[in-house]
């Protein structure tokens, strides 16, 4: 029986990985010992063919949660995207669905990147309205994720963690805490990642993301093409100590390794999680 966590009483799905094209067939045929899979929503918002074929086989075999990249909460709603997302979320019937605290383009031009928003009261109100609207229409818990930032706006007058906290409280939604993103942003923008964690409402965290990133001369980039680094594991343990058992996911989207290697990374996450849960408070 799944344990429940957070104020939303959502299940703790354990440690999962992203369901990616190179592993579609192997996962459904071999049923590896991975607790759950995250679905990149936009990959499955299509009519048929290979994505839908593999989706249907996966959801018969594993718990899943949809995670999107194109909701663009910081800009105007795209009705076509939202309609397709709604259909997809209904189809997989997961306990929550998620996307990012960012903008990904305008009505005219799409950047297909998770660009940070300026942290202002005006933007906060806009984001809250958009989350409330989509959460109400879908009738399902939405979780908003912090992004990796490579820039900061002069116009921002609220700290990211305070902005995020206000958004989730006012919208009454969940949070997808990306621990790697906190760490990458802390390096790029210069803040203490542990203090960042201390500022967010942990009872709203329904899922954690872990990933590897790339280190360049002057900044770090959230590339999802490496194993999780030691600093991020340490921050993950800090998060688990504060939150308790919560669904955790390894993101590995480029230079994708074998399924066996991904399962090893999930096992490692499970060990860090258990260590943090068993540590004296």
């Amino acid at each position: 029986m799944a344990r429940t966590v957070s104020r939303f009483a959502v299940p703790d799905l354990g440690v999962g990985v992203g369901y990616r094209v190179p592993h579609y067939t192997q996962v459904v045929e071999e049923r590896p010992a991975i607790d759950w899979f995250e679905l990149l929503s936009e990959n499955f918002m299509v009519e048929g063919g290979s994505p839908i074929h593999h989706l249907e086989r996966l959801i018969d075999a594993y718990p899943v949660a949809p995670h999107g990249v194109s909701l663009s909460l910081g800009s105007e709603e795209d009705p076509d995207h939202v309609a397709r997302l709604h259909k997809f979320v209904e189809r997989v019937n997961a306990p929550w669905f998620s996307d990012h605290l960012c903008w990904t383009g305008t009505r005219v031009h799409r950047l297909h990147d998770l660009v940070p928003i300026p942290y202002t009261p005006q933007m906060r109100d806009h984001i809250v309205d958009r989350i409330k609207s989509i959460q109400d229409r879908f009738g399902r818990l939405f979780a908003v994720e912090n992004v990796s930032a490579y820039l900061a706006y002069k116009d921002s007058i609220i700290r990211e963690q305070d902005f995020l906290s206000e958004v989730v409280e006012r919208a009454d939604c969940g949070m997808l805490l990306d621990v790697n993103n906190v760490f990458v942003s802390s390096c790029n923008l210069g803040f203490d990642p542990v203090k960042w964690l201390d500022s967010i409402p942990m009872d709203r965290v329904v899922q954690i993301h872990l990933a590897g990133h790339s280190i360049y001369e002057k900044y770090r980039l959230d590339t999802h093409d490496h194993p999780v680094c030691d600093e991020v594991w340490a921050l993950y343990r800090e998060a688990i100590r504060r939150i308790g058992p919560v669904s955790t996911l390894i993101e590995w989207d480029d230079q994708i390794p074998s399924l066996a290697r991904l399962a090893e990374e999930a096992d490692l996450a499970r060990r860090h999680r258990d260590e943090a849960l068993n540590a004296p408070v």
Binding site: E42, M45, V46, E47, G48, G49, S50, P51, I52, H53, S70, S72, G74, S75, E76, D78, D80, H81, W103, T104, G105, T106, R107, V108, H109, R110, L111, H112, D113, V115, Q122, M123, H126, Y150, L151, A152, Y153, K154, D155, S156, N188, L189, G190, K218, Y219, L221
Partner: protein, 243 residues
């Protein structure tokens, strides 16, 4: 009220349509404001190029060293305007014609786009013999696409993507059907009468007049029509038109 003008300007900077303006950014402990916005600009260029090349694998192979220049000229003229990167090449065929790209490059584009569309199209609705007897209005199944190629680019594409030796380019009329069997996308050269029949059906012509027109032009195919329709139904190439 959202600062949509501000977002349009920033999107233009990230796309490279306007010069980078660092005055909006605060900088960080190791990066200047200029470097901050440049990260997004550089990532945009890498991501968009990769996505477009993935949608047009045959054309990218055919263009070779020219691919980067050609694909970027398209992206600059046709920046992505939908939520899905799967539609990033949607305007490429029209653009390629306007740019006076060669016939074989335009045909390879058509083929790449047809394969991509078939890959994620809806399943067809199987057609029964009983339905056929009623001479229903038909259409191609959602995953089927008819192409009239002017060269053997389909054979070149298949060889290139399988990393085999590609045949020499040959200018020749190739009536082709791109379709999906199970989850695999395939293509098949069709006899011109069969291609013409499917083309007329897909254009909305009623079955009786489409058959009449094909038999009038190629009288010797009349005895084969029954077998053709049996094959169309078995291969899920056509379905009853519901609109």
């Amino acid at each position: 009220m959202l600062p949509s003008d501000w977002q349009e300007k920033m999107a233009a900077m990230i796309r490279g349509a306007e010069p980078l303006d660092a005055s909006w950014f605060a900088g960080g402990p190791t990066v200047t404001p200029d470097e901050q916005i440049a990260v997004y600009h550089n990532q945009y260029r890498l991501r968009m190029y990769d996505a477009l090349a993935e949608e047009l694998p045959g054309l990218s192979w055919m263009l070779g060293d020219e691919a980067e220049d050609v694909l970027w000229r398209y992206l600059d003229a046709n920046p992505p305007n939908t939520w899905t990167l799967n539609r990033i090449a949607a305007r490429f065929q029209d653009w390629a014609v306007a740019e006076r790209m060669s016939d074989e490059q335009v045909d390879m584009t058509k083929l790449d786009l047809a394969v991509a569309a078939s890959f994620e199209a809806a399943w067809g609705k199987p057609l029964s013999v009983a339905q056929l007897m009623e001479m229903p209005s038909l259409r191609l199944s959602p995953h089927a696409r008819l192409l009239r190629l002017r060269s053997n680019v389909h054979l070149i594409r298949s060889a290139a993507l399988q990393k085999k030796d590609a045949p020499a380019l040959e200018s020749i009329d190739r009536p082709l059907l791109v379709f999906r069997r199970g989850i695999r996308v395939r293509h098949m050269e069709l006899p011109l009468p069969q291609w013409t029949l499917l083309s007329r059906i897909d254009a909305g012509e009623d079955l009786g007049s489409a058959l009449e027109a094909v038999v009038a032009e190629w009288p010797d195919v009349a005895p084969q029509l029954g077998e053709w329709f049996k094959a169309f139904a078995e291969t899920d190439w056509v379905q009853v038109r519901e609109d």
